[in-house]
């Protein structure tokens, strides 16, 4: 077996020139940039393509070096030759979401009407809009149906939306650690994050792009608060306990005495280098608005009536952001729709972030599901 580097160049395509993107808010976008990475090769029948949907602060660099941070891709453990999303077998596509800040059109891009960055003039976008834009990319790539759509957290929401809005274009779907509607608690956490950004004097009503100062402190606080929700009490205790950071004694001040404080500050500071504050506002809003239940008259199973898509739902025992109960709501709706569904709750103390980490039970589950799906699609005998 020859070892192909899983790296792909970041590509950008302009979509919607002929048929503009109609957003849920009523606004029409004439042309949008769509930035994406691909790994592996598309087969002749174009039946082996997998769409990877990234989470709130993810990007298209799922298995390649992130150009700003220089770090490895966020799902390099999953994507590559011989890995679960095997680039020797599958053609993996990962695109930056609409509203993002890594090349796909978002609030930091130039508004053609004004010649200046959109800022808060960027229209409010939804998970449905993100998926609609991805469907345009699917058309552009000439792929009739994805072999699979997969993603965790907000990526899971997109996966659910894909299977509901375009059932015939999704052969299998793997929503991980997500929900069919954003809970009040999660909206509350997002609101804390947004208020932190907007309280930063450098935010300037969202019009900070020309200024030398960016709302980095606000965004860092938003990230710190959010990051706590991605972990679990047990994981925080295991990692840090009450250990002190580079010191023997408490300082009786407000320095980062504790390791956990230092860790969170580091998470916050690192984040602001690679993420746009307005993108953070828009994308968290899109998650808040997500409600597939309401979209289908209060019955989630209606979202999947007569679906032929095969589903594999995965949740984590210590995830309190998207707890198993919310994932089970999805499973029960799929069962009621007579859909082909598998559901595994993975035992881990790593919290919501488990889907991004080395979680062997999740790897085995998804691997088994993909293999049987590949058989049923005739990709393997």
């Amino acid at each position: 077996m020859s070892i192909k580097p899983p790296l792909s160049d970041n590509q950008t395509v302009i979509l919607g020139k002929e048929t503009p993107l109609k957003l849920d808010c009523g606004v029409t976008m004439e042309a949008i940039n769509m930035a994406y990475c691909t790994y592996g090769e598309l087969n002749a029948d174009k039946t082996n393509a997998i769409l990877v949907c990234h989470a709130l602060t993810g990007d298209q660099f799922a298995a390649s070096r992130q150009p700003v941070t220089g770090k490895n891709g966020w799902w390099e453990m999953m994507i590559g030759p011989g890995k679960v999303l095997d680039t020797d077998k599958y053609f993996i596509v990962c695109s930056n979401v609409l509203g993002g800040c890594m090349g796909t059109t978002g609030p930091s891009d130039i508004d053609p009407k004004t010649g200046k960055p959109y800022g808060l003039n960027f229209p409010i976008i939804t998970i449905g809009d993100m998926v609609r834009a991805q469907a345009m990319l699917q058309d552009y790539l000439g792929i009739e149906s994805w072999f699979s759509v997969i993603g965790g957290s907000m990526g899971g929401m997109q996966t659910l939306q894909w299977a509901s809005a375009y059932p015939e274009r999704v052969f299998s779907a793997i929503p991980i650690a997500c929900a069919a509607r954003h809970s009040a608690q999660n909206i509350a956490f997002h609101e804390v994050g947004r208020q932190a950004v907007m309280a930063d004097p450098n935010w300037l009503g969202g019009d900070y792009y020309a200024s030398d100062k960016k709302p980095t402190s606000g965004l860092a606080v938003a990230r710190m608060a959010a990051h706590v929700t991605y972990l679990s009490e047990a994981a925080l205790h295991r990692k840090f306990g009450r250990n002190l950071q580079d010191r023997e004694n408490l300082t009786y001040g407000f320095d980062a005495d504790f390791q956990v404080e230092s860790y969170l500050r580091y998470q916050g500071i690192n984040f602001v280098d690679r993420f746009d504050a307005n993108s953070y506002l828009y994308i968290t809003r899109a998650m808040d608005y997500f409600d597939l239940v309401e979209d289908h008259g209060g019955s989630l199973s209606k979202a999947y009536e007569k679906t032929k898509t095969r589903f594999c739902v995965v949740s984590f025992t210590s995830d309190w952001l998207f707890p198993t109960s919310e994932n089970k709501d999805i499973v029960q709706a799929l069962i009621a729709a007579a859909a082909n569904v598998s559901f595994v709750e993975v035992e881990t103390d790593k919290g919501h972030d488990a889907f991004l980490l080395d979680t062997p039970e999740m790897f085995k589950t998804i691997d088994g599901f993909l293999q049987s799906s590949a058989k049923s699609r005739g990709l393997i005998s």
Partner: protein
């Protein structure tokens, strides 16, 4: 992954599974309630080409099933069967799980709502060894197939063959087929399920359907 987990069926498929498999029409839609690690589902998929789904309580069992490519969800027979639509399967199977449920009659009702037919297997508590054990030792019976002491067993609703057929009558359920199995695993009778079978039969398998 380089080394996918291969499904390795146990050398001997459980006898009641073989007998259940004989009852299932090829190519049908099957729900296995309490499917454990998926051996029966895999067997039915391989030999009968069924479209199989499973419901299993134990995390461990579900994870093995899904890693082996079976469509199985984690759930409870007592509470989660309500989510399945009417008539969504040709067969709803409950193999040696009835006696572990909190409300066996409700579970049976659900099975017959979800499946056009229900296939149910269970150990016969009136089997003579059980009777003798209780009569002579004065202790809760423990046999080869019932080898867990009373305080640890998941089997909370034991019944006898006669109890089961009486319940079927009460629920107005039609018994389409019956197989009574000896402790050796050999079939004792397929034609009757009377007192003789109730005394000498160790395990029972019934295929049921709604009368109306």
């Amino acid at each position: 992954m380089n080394d996918p987990i291969k499904f390795v069926p146990k050398r001997d498929i459980r006898v009641d599974w073989q007998l259940i498999a004989e009852m299932v029409e090829p190519g049908s839609r099957v729900l296995d309630v309490g499917c454990d690690d998926g051996q029966l589902l895999a067997h039915l998929t391989e030999t009968k080409n069924v479209d199989g789904r499973g419901l299993e309580l134990s995390q461990h069992g579900v994870n093995i099933c899904v890693a082996n490519g079976l469509s199985v969800v984690q759930g409870n027979a007592d509470t989660d069967l309500v989510y399945y639509p009417d008539d969504s399967f040709d067969y709803a199977i409950l193999s040696k799980t009835l006696q572990t449920t909190h409300q066996p009659h409700v579970v049976l009702e659900q099975l017959l709502r979800i499946g056009r037919r229900a296939i149910v297997s269970f150990p016969n508590f009136a089997y003579w060894r059980c009777r003798a054990y209780l009569a002579l030792k004065g202790r809760m019976p423990m046999t080869n197939s019932l080898d867990i002491p009373w305080y640890e067993t998941p089997n909370i609703h034991f019944c006898t063959l006669k109890d089961f057929t009486a319940l079927c009558e009460k629920m107005d359920v039609k018994i389409e087929q019956s197989v009574i199995v000896k402790a050796s695993g050999n079939v004792m009778t397929r034609s009757t399920y009377g007192s003789f079978a109730n005394f000498f039969g160790a395990d029972c398998i019934f295929m049921l359907s709604r009368k109306t």
